[in-house]
Structure formats: C-alpha cells, structure tokens
C-alpha cells in the first residue's frame, strides 16, 4: 500500500484558549516496502503525525490517501488492519493470561476461523522470535520480551504498513538491536515500516528515507544522507564524524550506516 499525506494540518482544542497547531501542513508519502524514519525533538509533532496515518486523528485540513483513495471514505476497521500502529510503551496494554492469547486477541476480531487465527499467531511469534514464550504470562516477561509480544499482536493483523512509535525507548541495547533487525526483516517481507525515533543512530541504520520534523512542519525529507548531511549538527554520530573530516578529506563521501562509515574511514589514506 502507498500511503500519502497531503498538506495535513492538525489543531488540538480549536477555538479554545488551549488551541495548539501541532501539524502545520505536512506532505509526505510512505512508499510500499520502504522504511521511513521520522525524527524530530520532543513536541515536533511526530506522534500526532503518525496517528493520522490510520485516522486515529483526523486532519483539521488536508488529506490522507491510501493507494490514491481518500482514507476517510474507507471502512475504518479495514484501514486500521492494513495500517498497524504500535504506540509508545505498548506493553502497558498487554492483558491476557498468556502471550499466545494476547497476540490472538486482535486477529480474533476479524471473523477468521480458529485455525487461521492460530496460524497468524504462530507466524507473528516466530517473526518476533518469542515463539518459546507463547505459554508464558506476559507479565512475567522482561521489558524487551513484553515489547515484542505487544508488537506481535499488531503484526498478527498482517498489516501492509507498520508504524512503530519509539519502539526502542527504555530497552537495553541488545534488545534494541534485535528490534532493528526485526524492522529489516519486515521490510524484506514487503511490509512498509514507519519508525518514529528520537535516536538518530538507530534511524541511520535502518531507514531508506528520513523525514525530519520541526515544530509541526517538515524540515527535511529525503534519503538519510540528504537529510543528515543537510544538517550535520543534528545528525547521527557517523554523519557527524564524517562531516567533520569532510573539509580536509572530501573523498570520505556521505556514509550513514555504521559499516559504511567504518569502511569509508578505513579507506582514507593513512588511517
């Protein structure tokens, strides 16, 4: 699915003294099968923006198009099945006695046969590599395992676009790397992923394109190299190192990912 936002504005509490314009005309598309990173400081509009992608929030003005069709004309259930949203700290919504039952909860609402539900749960638990935890209570899991169980529940809906809002917040570094590996796998399976993160280093590793938000508007949108080298002061560590070297060593190019950057540094004469 290609999801497109056209000039989306969002005003919270319009007409009251608390009126805030959280989005000021945002246009961007999520291309099928890409990982789009959304970055920006606290209050830049990241969470407001992604909630428009499945119409949990309706734009004050502007449009959301799913494969060219106005998303408001689609059935909401169907839209939310295709565009799965995983909130920040999603593990707070785990509730069932076992991980398996928790993950089965959402697909059960789809009028599928029991066997189909079971199959989807298996597939989801395998994708998140928590198959061995199926019979455990979600409350007995570690932080990283809980996070993955919560994501598995959304994945069991077989979304075409998966939105992850700060999926690595509060996870230990190893759990974080596992989650990034999962994002890469999902993309290989043809699922588009929107990764909202304030951690630029992780966005650098997995994003195909990056949208940088600032005060509710798009500050930059493009490949990671275009966006990050456009403003190296607010870039991942790899880009900051390379851009500091660029003046004296232009041959370093525009590396973004860790391995790319390491290779570019090693290739410098004398290093």
């Amino acid at each position: 699915m290609r999801l497109e936002l056209k000039d989306v504005r969002h005003v919270y509490a319009p007409g009251t003294p608390f009126e805030v314009e959280a989005l000021r005309g945002v246009s961007l598309a999520i291309e099928p099968g890409e990982v789009l990173g959304i970055v920006g400081g606290t209050g830049s509009g990241k969470s407001t923006l992604v909630q428009h992608m499945n119409l949990l929030l309706v734009p004050t003005s502007g449009e959301v198009l799913a494969d060219g069709v106005d998303a408001r004309s689609l059935e909401k259930r169907e839209l939310r099945r295709k565009v799965g949203l995983v909130f920040q700290f999603p593990e707070s919504a785990l509730f069932a006695p076992t991980v398996e039952e928790d993950v089965a909860f959402a697909p059960r609402q789809l009028a599928l046969g029991e066997e189909e539900v079971r199959e989807r749960v298996r597939e989801s638990l395998r994708a998140l590599r928590i198959w061995d935890l199926a019979a455990r209570s979600p409350f007995a899991l570690s932080g990283g395992e809980k996070r993955r169980a919560a994501i598995a529940g959304v994945l069991a809906m077989r979304p075409e676009v998966l939105i992850l809002d700060e999926p690595t917040a509060g996870l230990d570094p190893a759990a974080r790397e596992e989650l990034l590996a999962l994002i890469v796998n999902l993309r290989q399976a043809g699922i588009s992923v929107v990764l909202v993160s304030h951690d630029l280093d992780e966005v650098a590793e997995v994003a195909d394109r990056v949208c940088a938000l600032h005060e509710g508007g798009v500050r930059a949108l493009g490949t990671p190299a275009e966006v990050f080298y456009g403003e190296p002061a607010q870039a991942p560590a790899t880009v900051r190192v390379a851009s500091l070297l660029k003046e004296s060593k232009p041959e370093i190019g525009d590396p973004v990912r860790f391995e790319e950057t390491l290779a570019a540094l090693k290739a410098l004469p004398g290093v």
Binding site: T42, D172, A174, A237, L262
Partner: protein, 285 residues
C-alpha cells in the same frame, strides 16, 4: 560526623554500601538481586548498567528504602533506608526516569520547594535554597512557569532542582535521560557533570556513553554483580560487553575498530584523532 554509625569502615567514608544484599520478588523463580556487595565512597561517580531484568531497578529500590532486602545489609550514609527513611532521604536524592510523574506543583518554584516543605524548613531559609537549586540547574527566570509548559529536558532539570534544594550528599539517578530527546539528554547530562565535584553519584542507565567519565561502572546481570570496572577497561572488553548485552555507542565502537582508544566519546574527538593519525603517517591494522 564522619562515621555516623555502622556500615562505614574506620578511616573510610562510605556513602553507600550493600553487603551480600539479596532480594526476590514474591512468586518469581530467581532472585532479582543475589548477594550483591558494593561500596561507594564519598565523591565517587559510579555507573550501573546491565540488561533489562538485571537488577538495576531493584538496587535503586533497596537504596531508597522502597524494598527491604531478604538478607544482607544496605546502608546509605551509614543508615538503614527501611528503618530510617526520613534520615536517609535527607542524604539521598533520587531522580527517576519519567519527569512527568514527579512534578506536582502549579509553578516551577513551588515544585522545587516541595521536598523542603516536607522537611519542615523555615520559609526564609527555604527561599534561598530554592533559588540556589534553580540556579544550579540553569533555570533562572523559570520560577513562575507552569511545569506542563516545559520541554522534557527542562522538566527533568526542575525535578533535579527539587532534589538539590534538599542538599543531599548522594544522588541516585535512575535512567534520568531515557525519556528525553537528544537535546534534553545533553542538558541534563551537562548539569549532572557540573554537580560531580560536591556529590556522590550513582547513575543507572542503558546508555554506556553517559558513563564514559565515571570513576567506575558496575554491571548487574540476572541479579549478580558481574563486573566493577573503569570505563576504559569495560569499553575495551568486547567479551564482557557481549555477555552482558551491552552495546558500545557508535563513536567508541568506530574508534576501537580503527585501533584508536575507545574512550574517544565525541565525534569531534574521534575526527581529531583520525586527522592526527593521517598526518603522522603511522598505520595500524
């Protein structure tokens, strides 16, 4: 008053100590902490890292008296945090993960004064302490702002000022930057760095780079204290890092891969070292 009671050693000046402290949560199969012994001397800056479920939060709860050890002994400034909570709270300030949960008052200055009010400090004395604490975190001019209008980094600095107003000798920081964006993290870390001289600090975090300047780093894994190392040693011990699910941040990782010291923690430092090497013409690996 150098050695106020048990838990300190002759001649030593212990701010925090655990002696074979163990704790299990009801119904869990393995202890959250098992026989952990550690000591913090006055003025030390000690980091605590380790995987989720390693025991970091349990250690924090034992030190601030929220939990009582099943066995072993915990002392803060020589006192038992469970039986003398009010005394311990004068010596130990705790900064939590989420700044939203801690701010209660309508204005910044009231929030900073909250801890002092609870200690029954006279009003005149309080005003001076509040002003000093607000200065220490660089929030002059914010006294009459409402906490809800502040950024995450600013809120966390207000919470920090509230701790400092009570003038504790020991700061216990429980992932104080994990909910903040990059700018907020920098703000809070700079303020903490400035406080080092006068305080004993125990800093729990998932971000190893925040501890590059610490005196020591403790590693907790599955309830055991598995390492107590200087940052230099820990950062260059790939096996120890891997076993404990620790991942080096990007800059020291690049530095180590290039055969440069892993203690280079800023992009500027690393870029400088690379330029120096290309100029000197020496080549390694």
């Amino acid at each position: 008053m150098e050695n106020p009671g048990e838990g300190t050693r002759p001649g030593g000046s212990l701010a925090v100590s655990c002696e074979r402290a163990s704790f299990s949560y009801p119904g869990s199969e393995r202890p959250a902490l098992s026989e952990v012994s550690l000591e913090l001397r006055r003025g030390e800056y000690v980091g605590v890292v380790g995987p989720n479920g390693g025991g970091k939060s349990t250690l924090v709860r034992l030190l601030n008296g929220l939990l009582r050890p099943d066995s072993g002994r915990v002392r803060v400034s020589g006192r038992d945090p469970v039986t003398e909570p009010f005394e311990v709270r004068k010596h130990l300030g705790v900064l939590f993960q989420n700044p939203e949960n801690g701010l209660v008052a309508p204005f910044v200055e009231d929030d900073v004064a909250f801890g002092l009010e609870n200690l029954g400090i006279p009003r005149e004395e309080m005003q001076g302490k509040v002003a000093g604490a607000i200065r220490a975190v660089g929030l002059e001019g914010y006294e009459r702002r409402e906490p809800s209008t502040l950024s995450g980094g600013e809120k966390q600095r207000v919470a920090l000022a509230g701790l400092l107003a009570v003038e504790p000798q020991i700061l216990l920081l429980d992932e104080p930057t994990s909910m903040l964006d990059a700018a907020g993290r920098r703000e809070v870390l700079e303020r903490l760095e400035a406080l080092r001289a006068g305080k004993t600090i125990l800093h729990v975090t998932h971000h190893l780079e925040e501890l590059a300047g610490a005196d020591r780093i403790l590693v907790l894994n599955e309830g055991d204290l598995v390492a107590d190392e200087t940052p230099e040693r820990l950062f260059s011990d790939a096996a120890l890092l891997r076993e404990n699910r620790l991942v080096l941040p990007v800059v020291p990782r690049l530095a180590l891969e290039l055969g440069l010291p892993g203690m280079l923690r800023t992009p500027e430092g690393l870029a400088g070292a690379i330029i120096k090497r290309t100029q000197s013409g020496t080549r390694t690996g």
